[in-house]
Symmetry: D2
């Protein structure tokens, strides 16, 4: 058996701890060091993994560390990507790379110039059901993709403080769906048309954001993608995708915690869905780390790249602009300046 991949973690909050746990469970990976200004958070990762708690500089400067996971606050992502790239380490960065496309682009360019792989945390690509959609498309059995429908609904809106710094629903929440659209449509997305409302909480509207939105994407070859998002779903975390092709359809729904069904005089009943995305995507988070370990080892593995991060962000920008202007907006080509 090979030596385990040695990794460093920047940021030990909720998502950082999730990645730490995945690393602890992985057979061929070891978390060598963790950095977080919140000592309690770092300590919790130390207990889980045996990693050293050090400063971010030490993590980046440790020559034994081969890969860096960036799970720090969003506004630090781009800087840390560039520092990790200059340290010549493979990089996993949580989405989004940055809320500003130009800034994100420079970070990606730096990684590219330094010749290090940059993987972006679009965890849904690693969900077994969504991954399988792509395999089915690749198999050719549904023919040419014509229309993709994505439904994403959160159980409840995050706090206003979060929303105000989120970059808006398109950059914060629907960006996952934009990436899925790119992953499944199979052609570059060229046009975006967006509609949205603040129906759940007036404060969200007052902050210039929406909580309910519908967006239509159009690819270079005229393929369509329809995405609907809501910050609220009484029955739980709802994430479904349908891919319609010339010869058939393939869909993925919501996993259930048990297979129990009840039947009473009033009818049949089953449980609500998961209420938390980290449970919903538990498998995906694990698979994501497995993929990153393979990336660090230089394996031939598909992963969402820095370019994918930019492309999804460019679609989010176009959606935000379309919402304001009431026009179909052409998506900026993210490779034009790289």
């Amino acid at each position: 058996m090979d030596e385990p991949v040695r990794l460093g973690l920047l940021g030990a909050g909720r998502i950082g701890q999730t990645h730490a746990r995945s690393i602890a469970d992985a057979e061929d990976a070891q978390l060598a060091a963790v950095a977080d200004p919140d000592e309690a958070a770092a300590a919790s990762v130390v207990r889980m993994t045996g990693a050293r708690a050090v400063s971010a500089e030490e993590v980046l400067g440790d020559p034994a560390i081969e890969g860096i996971l960036i799970a720090a606050p969003t506004d630090l992502h781009a800087d840390l990507v560039e520092k990790a790239a200059e340290s010549r380490k493979a990089i996993f960065c949580e989405k989004p790379l940055d809320l500003d496309l130009a800034r994100a682009r420079r970070a990606v360019a730096t990684a590219s110039r330094c010749g290090v792989p940059l993987m972006v945390g679009f965890n849904r690509r690693f969900d077994p059901s969504f991954r399988r959609l792509r395999d089915e498309i690749d198999s050719g059995r549904i023919g040419t993709v014509e229309l993709v429908q994505i439904t994403s609904r959160d159980p409840a809106p995050p706090p206003m403080a979060y929303i105000e710094r989120s970059g808006g629903l398109f950059r914060d929440m629907m960006i996952h769906d934009f990436d899925m659209a790119r992953f499944l449509v199979g052609e570059a997305i060229v046009e975006v048309s967006a509609t949205g409302s603040a129906l759940i909480d007036k404060a969200i509207g007052d902050a210039g954001d929406v909580d309910t939105a519908a967006v239509t994407l159009r690819s270079a070859g005229g393929r369509l993608c329809v995405i609907s998002n809501s910050r609220r779903a009484a029955y739980g975390y709802d994430q479904r995708i349908e891919v319609h092709g010339s010869d058939g359809m393939v869909s993925a729904g919501n996993p259930v915690a048990t297979t129990v069904a009840r039947a009473y005089r009033s009818g049949f009943a089953t449980d609500p869905l998961n209420n938390f995305f980290m449970e919903r995507y538990a498998d995906a988070y694990r698979q994501e780390i497995t993929a990153f370990c393979a990336v660090v080892r230089g394996g031939d593995v598909a992963y969402p790249s820095g370019h994918d991060g930019l492309a999804a962000l460019a679609i989010a920008d176009a959606a935000a602009q379309s919402l304001v202007t009431g026009r179909t907006v052409t998506v900026t080509r993210v490779d034009s300046v790289l």
Copy 2:
């Protein structure tokens, strides 16, 4: 028991024959007369119902006839509505009233002036599952409606000759979904944004039409409706609706011919969907005629009115314009001139 309602039928083609059969099955209705220039078609209705085969003028002039069903070609609808209105008969007219909104408006105005009820053939409102969606909304159990998702896919495109005279996908096919949106959203639709492509048949694109389309509607209060249409679905006639509210969701799917499931080494399998809309909506067509009989009797029954016909057509017009301009289009208020 009351005397049966006496009805006259103008047009004995496929849909006319369907209505004739529903009248024959209804306990309280009688088809007194049928008119169709195609003698064989008329004769087939005669055999089924015992109706007299006469001219359209005789049907309209028969004082014993209380209600007229118009199932003639679309370009005759508006004229026949006006003649039936002037004969002071209750009217059922197949959709669309006319492909031209202004012409349709005059017909509706005539019916209104003559004081006769005018029911439009939006049969889906009578589908037991879709009807039930509305009942669930009315019950208040899902709270305030926020987002409606409608998927409509035909098994295969109609002949080009049909498409060329159809008024385009929005006026011919999606118009049913526009009516459903109005039926379920519960507020006036004020803005439309449309995208579409000709992916199935290049000839459809050459004829200036699309075969795959996605449209977003926005109501006066900011509620959203997303509609996707395709002229092709390998697995059969696919018609589904989801209504998302502040407290929950209610959905309706596709009925199945049998409940049979098979399980082999390769997995589980069930049958494709119905391949024909007249099977799919067989119940709805029957209920529609039952409702029209009640309308003729002056009963207090909900039905899609002439105004509903105009409103759906106005949305279709806006969608067609949005497709061309790439802009969100404001829907013409159809009651403004009546």
Copy 3:
């Protein structure tokens, strides 16, 4: 088009009226006459079909009538079968032929001697889903049948007065499942083992009957069939079958009235099942009459015969005996004396 088949109906109660309605709807059948001592019941059939209301003797003696439907009380079935047979008419008789196997056997022998077809009212064979199970078996796709599981549950027990004259759960209710087992297992049933309890109503037990029962059948080649019955199911009329073969499985479940699903904070909900067997089997009753019309015409059509009626009754007798003795009981061969 052929002349319609002319039929006579003996018995105009609930099931007789159902058959009358099916005849009225059939394109190639006409109900010429109906007999029932209850004049109001007969009159209701007359209104529905235009049949003459006459005496049973007149129905049987009318030379223009080609087929007789026997829907009289069970204790008259065997006599009426014999009289109809001697009048040389094709016979449809509701199940059971008689509660006494020997009596039923004589009636079947009479029909056989007179050379008239005798169809028994095992309507479930005509249910589209159950019919399809048989087609799947015949296709060979699930290989050799090894195990059949049948679940039958009524919404609520019938009145005690009915139960007391019913011949017991095995002869009254499970007899349908015995026929299904024979229809699907594909081999003669040779052994029966029965268990049962009166759990719903002590009075049922006091009357010497059970309301909850489980029976295992074994075919000549060792194939198994498991049947469970209950006179009560809070969630509605529950009828399901699974057929397991060497290469796979095929199952049929309960049809639903609508496809509507609701989702709330408490979870997902759908409607209870039908509460009435005549709704549940509406299609089957129609198909049954269509098949009988074909039988009368001498068509090459599969139907449950007098022999099938005897065979199911023989299994019911064996089950009743097994319940009392606690032993596996060998089924009487019903063809041994014919």
Copy 4:
């Protein structure tokens, strides 16, 4: 946080390794030692957990070890239970305790006399869906239990060498269902009636065993349980339960690996089930070890006890006898001599 529970493992085969992995994943448990004559097997557990590989005697004699897991071959179970009991350690023993009821009884009596808890490896009680069935029953929402239906089908029969030493289908495979019946019926099982055949492999029949079986159980209060088993299911590992009560029903089905559905011209398709019971019950195996850790700590936790192991075995004995005699057999009371 408490000190971890220290455990010893006797037997490092397939199921032993599964338990070792669960212990490694558990937060509050530590595998201190493992014993297996197969050194490679023991070494693999050592790598996984850091346990010492020692002799069984050393495991049993180690005063630091609080709980023993017995995953050795079946014919050693009873001896090891007694030795562990005499070492005053809490015991987890894989099912069956022994193929011979009297021998198993003595082992249980020894554990009882020594005052140590004895948990038997009926892992299905820990499956989240089956566990939930019991919770639903306990909630009272389905009223009084009247009928339980259990379907268990393996993908393919084990090798003949295994079958010959298995004690037969009832003691080896259906014993899990007998335990489930006891867990869910809520009353003592008093009578058993069994039918079975060797339909899959003639060699199984030649060895005096069956591969397809149907068994009916009856409780003290007349409640029924129907169990069907097959050693073969083309479509995968099939394990389903329905519990019918006076006020409703609760059921548990098969978990699926993904939620992906495909739709083609030929219809809808989903994947086959898991092909391996260790995947199917992965969650259950983990929960089982968590429960055993709680048992070792003396926590107030429900678990399948030695008495449960005996009771299931007594039902299996009765089933085997019923199969041979064709009679309903009264179940031996296992507590009569303890």
